[in-house]
Symmetry: D2
Subunit: 457 residues, 4 copies
């Protein structure tokens, strides 16, 4: 479990405001504060033609990642998932050979996050970078992931304001890894109930003068698979091997996707999408670029198992900045570009996996004060979709969901007993780690840390 | 020429604010006022499953049209133009047979107008109509037209705020015709220099219980062609027949597309796009709906000549509300639905053509006061892209563009003499009607009326 | 009515052989004789990079048209119909910029005619023109039309042998117009019951050094429409205007598609397809070539009304021979190429319309000999699908279909009285011209002339 | 090395005839004898709705595989390779929900093999199974693999006659594995110089009433990869691990694709294609079927490394026989169908790998007779593309290619010394096994066995 004393707690004021609005008819995100370029784990790479900016609303948490090509680039797209959300792909499909692409934008928020993709285009115009001249129109494309449902207890989405913040914070050569940007609340392995925390990844390779970079937001129904076949992250069923392999999960399929004996079960994370981008500085024509897209996207079935299901909306963009003209400088054969791009994407996928929250230690006995417990009782509101009623009986604490949704396995039908970890922290033992932290006054934080959810009475 | 005393003048305050911001680095549209559901020419039709809302920024002018299906519908898309701008078409292409479509949004502003398409989706969520539940996600699709370039002297675009205003103003059974909604500053016939004013059109037909509606924003490089072959609207070259036929223009092509002897010439309107929507209440499966889309889109080559050029970004959506199940009630054979849909679309295209501004009468002599002329002099700013310097000499008025763009044929290289129409109104005689109206204090209005452009000193 | 003494009668021997085989279980086309490059109406054009060969089986009649690019060319495709039959389009869609296309093949025979498309590829290899070397593979693409159903009384299809004959007969600069090649038994206007005879057309234009050619096989459900709006060919209902216009047919739709009072009605020709090819010598990149395809294909809705219905399988190929490099010689702007290509295609469509068989003059009285009539009686077999039993009573002749299909409106339920035109020729008066010509010994020819059908007792 | 005394030797007569024709201008395959349903390794499965027929020309060797659905089925297609060859995919893409598919045909011969796909359609008509009636047209689709180039010393391709033989030999429940049908001369791993022999594979699984079958012809540029990561078949470079893993090859890429020190090198097998088919009896709608296609095709990147490169023309068909209607009988969730289909395809791919010819034992000394050697000398012709001149000097035998192509690494520039294995058999030691077997009179067989090549003086 991560320490609770992190920056995310200072956002409490914004949270309250958001909650207030969320409980009214119309959601209002105008009080939320964009946090830009957060994250200490980063990929650093030397390539000024690529600028990256991320912005997050911690109250989701959710976020957006803008990959900006200040000198424009040529783009292609490969859509393969069963539930994609995209902007302007029809234009890319026309196969023009003029570099017109300004930005590829990845976003959380499912289809609502599409707003952040279009917002990058309008921000480029609002900021005077692009205009209405036919040859100077901003072209921003992108795709979204589904980070809603019951994995979060609210429906905050990356909006115009957040995307503009990300664009305006862009910088060359740094890409935050893990739970950041569009990958802020990504998950993987839902098909098998793994529900691992995920994020965004990146990898970079330079061979001679040829540069290739891979960027990916991994939010897959399948599991991330290492090159040796082991699953990178999974909250497994109790009887599963610690050394879990993707081929094991598939060999025992469909049993492996069915809820095990571990309780509480959860169907969080059943809806997904992995969005990705492969970039090279080698000049490619549209057909070559499309081949790069098709090949690399197909190859991702190795690193994500299974890939491109009906519950994923997988989209890959391929981009050539065209800085290196093979007619002038030695480039790579296309086959090498494709194969190495695919390997790099695997690296990027592996780099997306954040440290998984551990299970809290449940002490044999915790000294609890009845009056303190009494103070914890009441109804806590996460958003209009999720509420928890805390009650106490016989010096024990109980929780019951009272809103339309369950709260991380805590249901609506009857109170669930909470086990004490400390005078302020409680848990429900199950397949997934769960911590309920009571913070005075009248504030409840679930899973304090990167993916925490906050509620107030 | 339309009378000047119309509602559009009351927006002067907003204009000033917008101009102020426009001249700074970042454009700020937050002071603009959405005007919703404007327009007296409308199509009225009885079909509660379709709600229509429009909103316009008069300072562009530009606008957005939202066609909202409150009970959702099944959608398909056919993209055929050389420069489309679309949202979420990849999802439609997967061919699911579940009605999930909430809205089709058409917008001005070229790719910047895509923001208004995504904004309809987020507005549906913000307003609590849709949510983040997988089965309740808002699906808004759409397409944009290019109404920028030198046809307008500013680059105001339909943004999130405007789209939300349009959605929230939606109502069943009324569709404003002509220069409204996304067709607010549409034009046609630029290929031949016609530069006719255009707009949005609609048509509705009910046969038995089967309803079909066609909606279109006509902003084509080609000319609108009537069923008898005559061109619906065109500012023709001087030697052209008044009874201009599309086949004449094509028979003399490419001469017909080259600038004639008439001055000043202009290349406004060379960039275009026609976006359209055909809706039926008959339940269709995805393949049938796609056939409707393909057939009707192809058929539009009759009503728009030429159609689907490289300078158009033509997109058609086909939608079935599914209210009428042919398995239960008598429906139409698909071939009839397709053929009648195509005819209806032709009707809608014809209905989009607004009354064209006439040429002002140039009187033999106008009594002008030197001091009044002196008062008119100065530099008028339309936006950061367009400025006019008015000077006077020998009791005559001259205009010269001083910004980066020409102003309706008035160039930057030398002053152009203005001919007086009245003490306050002036013109430059040429292929296109042009009126410069001086309005105290220090305010200049070009082409007062539906497509007016305003500037202040 | 065309004179009967034409070359087609000499093929009687082959007919008999074919009929013999047709009545057995397995059809055997090995006795049929390919007739190559038939047709006196031709388009002649100066362009050695395009070679054209046609071959026909008169016993169908049906045929194939091979457009061969001996120095290869770049190809693109636009598929728009509801029932296409194609070969190798997936390869074209990859958008490579290398000229690899050897031939575009159009064929009758519906999907069975696809064999003739692949046969051109193998013939190029068999003849040593192409080989198995990766860079020397023959690339033949194409599309088929539906010329089966009840328009012909047999199911002979263009096969490998016929296609090879066409390829081996190819020659530069000559394209047979009308009822030849793949258009050998094409029809148009079936939607409205017009059932006009159709064919293949072509047009050529040179502007400066830029050459454009359009080739088309018109077999549309809709009617061919002239530039003045008149229908080019239609056997109309009795009360229809002689000066029939496409807009009239559509204004009275769907009544215009329903069988009129004229008898016998017929549903022949309800299944269709128009396949076409636009070629330029101007070098285009794949995106430009695709735009040409899309634009020209859309434009065909003007010349064929309606176009691209569910009962058509319309496919257009666009090809650039690349002989004229605009970087070196003055070429045309793409927009001109597209617009002029569309006009040229309209010309080609009009050029496809053959002279329509007229109605035979029915004399007041014809001297008939009872013994001659007796001699005509018996059962005539066209193929396993169509047979006519001729009987006589009271010095009158009667016909009744005895096979699985009706014979041009002559049904199976009861004998139809034939009206005498001459001692050897008879008719049934109705919406369509019909002549039954008895030719000794025991031979019956229906509609002697270009579209004749032969039977033997 | 396989024993030489197998059935393939009896075909010598046909070979001679074919060789005779091959050396003339036009290739004539009419003397070749189809061998149907060859192969002892088979998959047997209980599913009468699927009939399989294969036919091979041993003189290629090359072949065709017909998967016939006698009661028709619903089909979808996913094209992902860089050089596909397909028939009628455009029709499948229209997404109709009527089962119309008669057969999926896989063929060798690159684009020339397309003839065999269309021939299955015409054979169904010729045989009276299908006709020209609109609702009874034969729909055969398919795809080809590239088995030409220098892997074979001739360019015999599967033609109409071979395909008809395969169709007419079809039978339910048996699928030959390995070097048969369209996989007759397939290879894998050319990217890394593996040049392993490959073939066709199949797998079948029944879960409750749900049946799934996977069929595949593996002719990939990449290597076949087992579930434990090991490469299934590869003639590796001398210093490579015997326990070769795909990840090793990629980790050392691009070195691993460069010719090693082993001589003679060869670029045979650089052109490829994997074609596949996944079938289920569960009724699926077109969108569901397309998802199955997309998912399974993507998943094949695990079993073939790399997959879908520019040098592959990968095509997958997905078919539903619709026998099991989930509305009536319990079916599988789509996600299970997709995931299990992907696993099954991996099984099928593994089942395609035939036993690899071993390296011949080179004895220390072989007693050779000078006069025998003398008898071997002369020029041997495999086809017009490949000839070997055998000479003798100092009681040693030498070979030199005299045709346009090298012969399995034996070049044209100088004689290559042959090492004796026995008085009749010789080899050149290198990365790949090679045996030259002299068979009286004047007959040379290279690599006697499944992939033998025959020549006569």
């Amino acid at each position: 479990m991560k320490p609770m004393s992190n920056k995310r707690f200072v956002l409490a004021a914004a949270v309250s405001a958001a909650l207030a609005s969320a409980s009214s008819q119309a959601a209002d995100q105008s009080t939320l504060t964009p946090v830009v370029n957060a994250g200490q784990q980063t990929l650093q790479f030397d390539w000024p033609a690529i600028r990256v900016g991320t912005a997050e609303y911690e109250d989701g948490p959710t976020g957006v990642t803008v990959i900006h090509f200040p000198k424009r680039a040529l783009g292609a797209v490969d859509v393969r998932g069963g539930g994609p959300g995209t902007v302007n792909t029809d234009y890319l499909r026309l196969g023009y050979d003029t570099p017109e692409l300004d930005a590829v934008v990845f976003s959380g928020g499912s289809w609502y996050g599409l707003e952040s993709i279009t917002a990058v285009g309008t921000a480029l115009k609002d900021d005077g970078v692009r205009s209405g001249d036919w040859t100077n129109l901003a072209l921003s494309v992108g795709a979204i992931i589904y980070d809603l449902g019951d994995r979060r207890l609210n429906e905050i989405y990356p909006d115009k304001r957040l995307a503009q913040a990300a664009l305006r914070a862009d910088r060359p050569g740094i890409f935050p890894l893990g739970s950041h940007g569009a990958g802020r609340f990504a998950k993987t392995g839902g098909l098998f109930g793994c529900n691992a925390f995920s994020g965004q990844g990146a990898a970079f390779r330079q061979t001679g003068e040829v540069k290739i970079a891979a960027f990916v937001v991994v939010n897959a129904l399948g599991v991330v698979t290492r090159r040796d076949g082991r699953v990178a992250a999974c909250y497994g069923d109790t009887h599963w091997s610690k050394d879990l392999r993707a081929t094991d999960l598939l060999a025992s399929y469909p049993d492996s996707r069915k809820p095990g004996t571990t309780v509480p079960a959860s169907n969080e994370g059943k809806r997904n999408t992995t969005v990705s981008l492969i970039v090279t500085n080698q000049k490619l024509n549209p057909a070559e670029l499309q081949r790069l897209a098709t090949h690399v996207h197909s190859s991702m079935s190795r690193a994500i198992t299974p890939f491109a299901t009906e519950f994923d909306g997988d989209v890959l963009y391929a981009v050539s900045t065209g800085e290196l003209d093979p007619a002038k400088s030695p480039g790579l054969p296309n086959i090498d570009l494709d194969v190495e791009g695919a390997e790099l994407m695997w690296d990027a996928i592996l780099a997306s996996v954040p440290a998984q929250p551990g299970f809290p230690h449940v002490p044999r006995e915790v000294e609890l004060s009845g009056s303190a417990l009494q103070e914890y009782t009441g109804e806590y509101t996460f958003s209009q979709f999720a509420r928890l009623r805390i009650t106490t009986e016989h010096n024990k604490l109980f929780a019951q969901a009272t809103g339309p949704r369950t709260v991380y396995g805590i249901g609506q039908s009857a109170p669930t007993e909470l086990q004490a970890l400390s005078p302020t922290d409680f848990t429900v033992v199950g397949r997934y780690p769960l911590v309920l932290h009571f913070e005075a006054p009248g504030k409840l934080v679930i899973n304090p840390g990167d993916w925490q959810q906050m509620a107030t009475k």
